[in-house]
């Protein structure tokens, strides 16, 4: 079911947290609300599920206007960050609770609970108590409980934040699989760009209550609208250097980087360059000189911080191999096509 948020405004007392936000999530789509803490993404989520009231704007699920409906009548499934399982009930009762509230008959409840337990792979856990489950299993139960009454929209609030790294990887693909299998419209709130990029069809990157950019993950990564978006996506993060445009190339200090043909008409004077670590290294020739100031081994790859002779620092990531040492002088190149140029106020050129 399509979800449409129109001109949404939310204030807490004097503070306006979100001002006139528009957001449309298509039927069956998984949308990420990504941003640093305090950007309003959780506020948006809690408004969609009805815990917060809207101060302005309206919200539609399909054709249904739910702006003024209380949570109970919205038919939204929510998975909370700490799962919020009911500790005194066993798993079966936890999952069955939304159906019992609807007063469905016990045969139907039993069938639906078993079906959904099958879907999230927990049929053998139904008779346990939440405290007896691991984080990942609790997560599955929370998902099952949110999905069992077939909600119009599924909301996930930082669902992976409490899991360890390995489980996080597993649950990432599990949540996506379940979302695809049920074909439900879903919104994922996260501050982790990897989660957002790997799980979602589209990402809405938020800052200070505004959506900075809304696009598909690869588009957002390769084609960021401003320095904030470019800096938020990518791990290790992008490096920025201030440069001048002179004679068909960017110069900063004694370093030069060629300007791609497509970019030439759009740049001039002072610019900020965004260089992702995978686009800086010896395989791109020479032109940028500096000293290695930090080496980090990541197993498959090595990460280098190169402090430029002219000041500033650029990160480079390269396949593990002959390792350079801290203090080594290097002269590496930058892939011209991959350089992102921004004006001095941070907008993309």
């Amino acid at each position: 079911m399509q979800l449409k948020l129109n001109n949404f405004t939310k204030t807490f007392g004097e503070v306006t947290v979100i001002d006139g936000m528009d957001l449309t999530v298509n039927d069956g789509e998984m949308m990420a609300l990504l941003g640093p803490s305090g950007c309003g993404k959780s506020t948006t989520l809690f408004t969609i599920c009805g815990i917060h009231r809207m101060n302005g704007g309206d919200l539609h699920f399909g054709d249904r206007d739910v702006t003024h409906l209380p949570s109970q009548q919205r038919n939204v499934g929510v998975v909370f960050q700490n799962y919020a399982l009911y500790p005194h009930m066993d798993i079966r009762d936890n999952i069955a609770f939304p159906l019992k509230v609807q007063k469905q008959d016990s045969a139907t409840i039993k069938r639906k609970v078993n079906e959904i337990a099958e879907l999230v792979h927990i049929p053998e856990l139904l008779d346990r108590k939440p405290a007896q489950l691991s984080g990942g299993q609790q997560q599955r139960v929370a998902l099952a409980r949110a999905l069992v009454r077939q909600p119009d929209v599924l909301l996930l609030d930082e669902p992976l934040a409490n899991l360890d790294a390995k489980l996080r990887l597993e649950m990432r693909s599990e949540i996506r699989r379940i979302q695809l299998e049920t074909g439900i419209t879903a919104i994922l709130v996260t501050h982790d760009q990897v989660e957002a990029m790997s799980m979602c069809d589209r990402i809405a990157l938020m800052r200070d209550g505004k959506i900075e950019q809304l696009s598909e993950p690869s588009e957002m990564y390769n084609n960021p609208a401003n320095t904030f978006v470019a800096g938020f996506l990518g791990n290790p993060p992008i490096s920025f250097v201030n440069a001048q445009v002179a004679g068909g190339s960017f110069t900063f200090g004694d370093n030069t980087v060629a300007i791609a043909e497509a970019l030439k008409p759009r740049v001039g004077g002072e610019v900020q360059l965004g260089i992702r670590p995978e686009h800086f290294g010896p395989q791109f020739g020479t032109g940028v000189t500096g000293k290695i100031s930090f080496v980090e081994t990541q197993g498959r790859e090595d990460l280098y911080n190169v402090t430029l002779n002219s000041g500033g620092m650029i990160r480079s990531i390269q396949p593990a191999g002959e390792r350079l040492k801290m203090g080594d002088a290097v002269s590496w190149g930058v892939s011209p096509e991959a350089v992102l140029a921004f004006d001095t106020s941070g907008d993309r050129l």
Binding site: F80, N82, Y86, P98, V101, R149
Partner: protein, 275 residues
Amino acid sequence: MTANFRSLPVILLLTIVSLPLVIMYAFTIVDTFTNTEPGSLMPNEFTTEHWRFLWSSDVGRGSVWVSTVNTFIFASTTALIVSGISLTAAYALSRLEFPARRFFLAGIIILHAFPTITLIIAIFLILQLLGLFDTLIGVIMVKTALELPFGIWIMKGFYDTVPWEIEMAGVQDGASRFMVWRKLVLPQVQPGLAALLIFSFLSGWSEFILPLVLAPGSDAQVLSTYLAYFLLDDSLEVDFNLFKSVGLFYAVPVILIYLVFQKKLMNIYGGGSKG
């Protein structure tokens, strides 16, 4: 083995320090069944005459059984009302936004710390006015009112530990606020409720000043005032062994309840840390 040896001095010290108490308790029990020659320490004959208040009606003021029933009604009604009101009031104070919430919270803390005995004359006048003076209902109402701040405060502590998300999840699952409270939140604070029930029952059972001042007659008499009569009445020759027997009779239910429920009662002191 070594751990036991190391704690031996401590155990020895504790034994010596608490010996006077233990001896006092022991003699209280022994004295109720025996007679002792004046000036002697050791009892010289076994007797049940100190327990005669249980079956003969000429001892004390009124029947001990009426007083026992009164005490039971007094303590259990107080406990039920206090727990019932605390359960709802504390939820409201913990979770709901309503006018003057801060005022109520501050008021509860102040009342909790207020020396209630200073109110006794005002309460006396009010009960007189209402025609509830010297009735059990009157004392119950007063005791309940005075016990409520404590109960509400304790229960609020328990409610505060229940995660918000559980309630939010319940609401998302389609349950009304009332149903969320009853089905999801109440089970979480159930240890607190049990502790409060027992605690306020015991507090009612041992209440002395309020029945003494507000229900001085023999009809609404409770065990504490029945017991005090043996000391207060000048016309009687004070029989200390009889007094001890009545005292023991009065204390036995309390001891039993403590023994049975001590685990649950401990919850109230850890109130909030675990729930």
